[in-house]
Symmetry: C2
Subunit: 326 residues, 2 copies
C-alpha cells in the first residue's frame, strides 16, 4: 500500500498552468486577475447522505467537482481554481484512480486547475472548495429579485431525483428515461456559460441543489418577496408519463414531485425583469439550453412560494426540498 | 431539532467585515488586495484519525482553524478568509455552539473572517479552507533551502505528542507538564507573525504537522538537498526528564521521540543562510518566541535527514513522522 504522499502525487498532482505554485507545498499560490472579485464556495459530500456508497467513483469524482462549479455558475463567476480534501476508508488505488479520472475530466471540461488538497483515512467524505472570479458588483446574488420579475429555470429539473428513484427501485421508468435520469443524477452539468451570460440580465440566481421550490424559496426570502409558480409552465414530461390511454397517473405524481422538490439537478433558477424576457429566450437559443419561465416574483411574506394549478388554484405542496438535518 | 439552515445561521453566520458578501448565498465574495498573490490551503480533520472523539468541541473548533492558519504561516502569508465544511452525526446544538465558540475565538485572534461553509449529516469530519495574501514572489516555499543554510525550529516541538501520550495513558508526566503538553495538542498557536517576519529572510519553511524530521525531510526533498540535525541543539527538556538522580531515561526516550517524530505541533521549521543567523536571534527576542538552530542543510541524497548525537555520530531513528496511509 502506497504512502499518503505517494498516493497524492500519483493521482492528484497534475500540471496547474493557471497557478503560480500547485500542489506539494504548505499552500498553493495563485495570482488573482487584477480588479476582479473572488467567489468562494465549499461543499462536503458524504457517502449515504449525498451519494450511494456503490456509486462509480468516476461519476463521484465528476459530481464532487461539478456541484461546486455549479455554485460559481449561480454567481455568474468564471471558474478558476479548486482544492480537494478527501477522507477514504482505505488507500484503494483502483478506486482513487477512477475517482481522479472523473474529477479531472470535469476540471478539464470547465477549465479549472486543481491547485491543492488533503488526503486522510476515515469514513468516505469529499470536500471541494472552488474559487471563481467576477467583476466587482456584478455577481448574481439571491437577494436581487423584485415583484414583477419573471422566474426561470434551466434544463429539466427533476430528472436527477427520478434517476435516484430508479436506482433505488422505487420506480421503473420507461425507456429511454432510466439512462437520461441516472446521467442527470450522476453527471450533472454546471451551468457556467448560462450563469456568465446572466450577468447584467438576471436580478437573482441560485442553483437547484435542494429542490426547485426550496431553492426558489431562498431567493424569495433573501429578496424579501414571495414567488408564484405555475404548474402549467413547468417543462412538460408528456413523453415520460404518456398521454391518452397510456397516461400513467402515479408516474405523473412522482415526476411532478421530483420537478418541484427533487434535489441534485444543479440547474439554475433565476429571475429577470419582465421587460427583458426576450433576451432570455435568445440566450436559450444561443446556449442550446432550454430555459423555462415558470412563474413570477410577487409581493408577499418573504420566502413563501405558492404553486398554482392550470386553473389558477393554489396547490398544496408538502415537500419543499431536502434538509439534511430536517 | 433545528433545520440545517437555521443551525448554520444561528452559529456560523457572523459579521464578515472583510468580505463583500458573507455566508448565505451560493458563494461568498471577497475583494483581493491589488497586486497580492493568494495562498490557498485546505485540511480535513477526522474523528479518530486527527483527534480523539471525546475532544472538547471548543478545543476542536480552535484547532480545526489553527492548523489551516499554520499552513498560511508557513508561506509567510497574511491570513484573510476561511470557509468551514462539517459533517456531524447529529445536530447537537450544545456541541455545535461550543465548536463555533472555539472556531470563532481562533478566527478573532488571528483576524480572519469566516465567509462561508457547508453543514451536513455524516461521521464527524471537519474541512477548512484558508485564504491568505502574500507579495508576489515573496512566499516562503519548501524548495528554496541550499547547502550551508541553518535549520531552525520555533517553540518546543514534541509537546503536542507528549500531551497525546498523557491523554492516552501511555505516560504520566510530572507537574506542570500535563497541562502544558495537552494545551500544545489541543490549542496550537499558528505562527503567523513569525512566518510573515521570515519573508525575505528564510530560504524555505514548513509547519511541523507530521513531525520535525518528516517535515524537514519535505524541505530537503523539494530543495534537492539533505539535512543534518544535531540532537544537542534541540530544545532541552531537562526540567521535564530531570537530571542527576532524578533523571528518567524512559521519559527521555519518549520526549526525544516526540521531539523528532511527534506531529501536531504546528511550529515552523525553516532554513536561513548562515550569514543571516543573527537576524533570526533578534526575531526571537522581538516575537518573544524561542527559535532554535537545530542543524544545517547539506549536499546529499535529496530528502534524507540525518541525526547526530553529541559526539557527532549518526543516530538511527526509526520513526520519521505520521503517514495516514503508511
Amino acid at each position: 500500500m502506497a504512502g499518503e504522499f505517494a498516493l497524492i502525487d500519483r493521482y492528484f498532482a497534475r500540471p496547474t498552468p493557471s497557478a503560480v505554485l500547485g500542489p506539494g507545498d504548505d499552500c498553493a499560490l495563485v495570482q488573482p486577475t487584477p480588479g476582479k472579485q473572488l467567489a468562494v464556495t465549499t461543499d462536503m459530500l458524504v457517502a449515504g447522505t449525498h451519494f450511494l456508497a456503490d456509486t462509480d467513483p468516476r461519476n463521484l469524482g465528476w459530481k464532487a467537482l461539478a456541484v461546486n462549479l455549479s455554485d460559481l455558475a449561480a454567481m455568474g463567476a468564471t471558474a478558476r481554481w479548486v482544492t480537494l480534501a478527501g477522507a477514504l476508508p482505505a488507500a484503494d488505488a483502483a478506486w482513487i484512480e477512477r475517482f481522479a479520472d472523473g474529477f479531472f475530466a470535469c476540471a478539464k471540461e470547465y477549465g479549472v486547475d486543481v491547485i491543492g488538497g488533503d488526503t486522510t483515512r476515515g469514513p468516505l467524505n469529499l470536500c471541494v472548495t472552488a474559487l471563481g472570479e467576477v467583476e466587482p458588483g456584478r455577481a448574481l446574488r439571491r437577494d436581487g429579485a423584485r415583484p414583477g420579475d419573471q422566474i426561470w429555470v434551466s434544463g429539466r429539473p427533476g430528472l436527477a431525483a427520478l434517476g435516484l428513484a430508479q436506482l433505488q427501485g422505487r420506480v421503473s421508468l420507461p425507456e429511454p428515461w432510466p439512462r437520461l435520469c441516472i446521467a442527470a443524477l450522476e453527471k450533472p452539468r454546471p451551468r457556467l456559460a448560462l450563469g456568465q451570460s446572466l450577468v447584467g440580465l438576471a436580478s437573482a440566481a441560485i442553483d437547484v441543489s435542494d429542490g426547485l421550490l426550496a431553492d426558489l424559496g431562498h431567493i424569495a426570502e433573501r429578496s424579501g418577496c414571495a414567488a408564484a409558480v405555475r404548474l402549467v409552465q413547468l417543462p412538460q414530461l408528456r413523453d415520460l408519463v404518456g398521454s391518452g390511454e397510456r397516461y400513467d397517473a402515479d408516474l405523473r405524481r412522482l415526476a411532478l414531485d421530483c420537478q418541484l422538490a427533487g434535489g441534485d439537478d444543479y440547474e439554475l433558477c433565476f429571475t429577470v425583469p419582465a421587460a427583458r424576457s426576450p433576451e432570455v429566450a435568445a440566450l436559450a437559443a444561443a446556449l442550446e439550453l432550454p430555459l423555462w419561465p415558470i412563474g413570477e416574483i410577487v409581493a408577499g411574506t418573504p420566502g413563501t412560494v405558492e404553486v398554482f394549478d392550470p386553473d389558477g388554484q393554489p396547490v398544496d405542496i408538502a415537500r419543499r426540498g431536502y434538509d439534511h438535518f430536517g
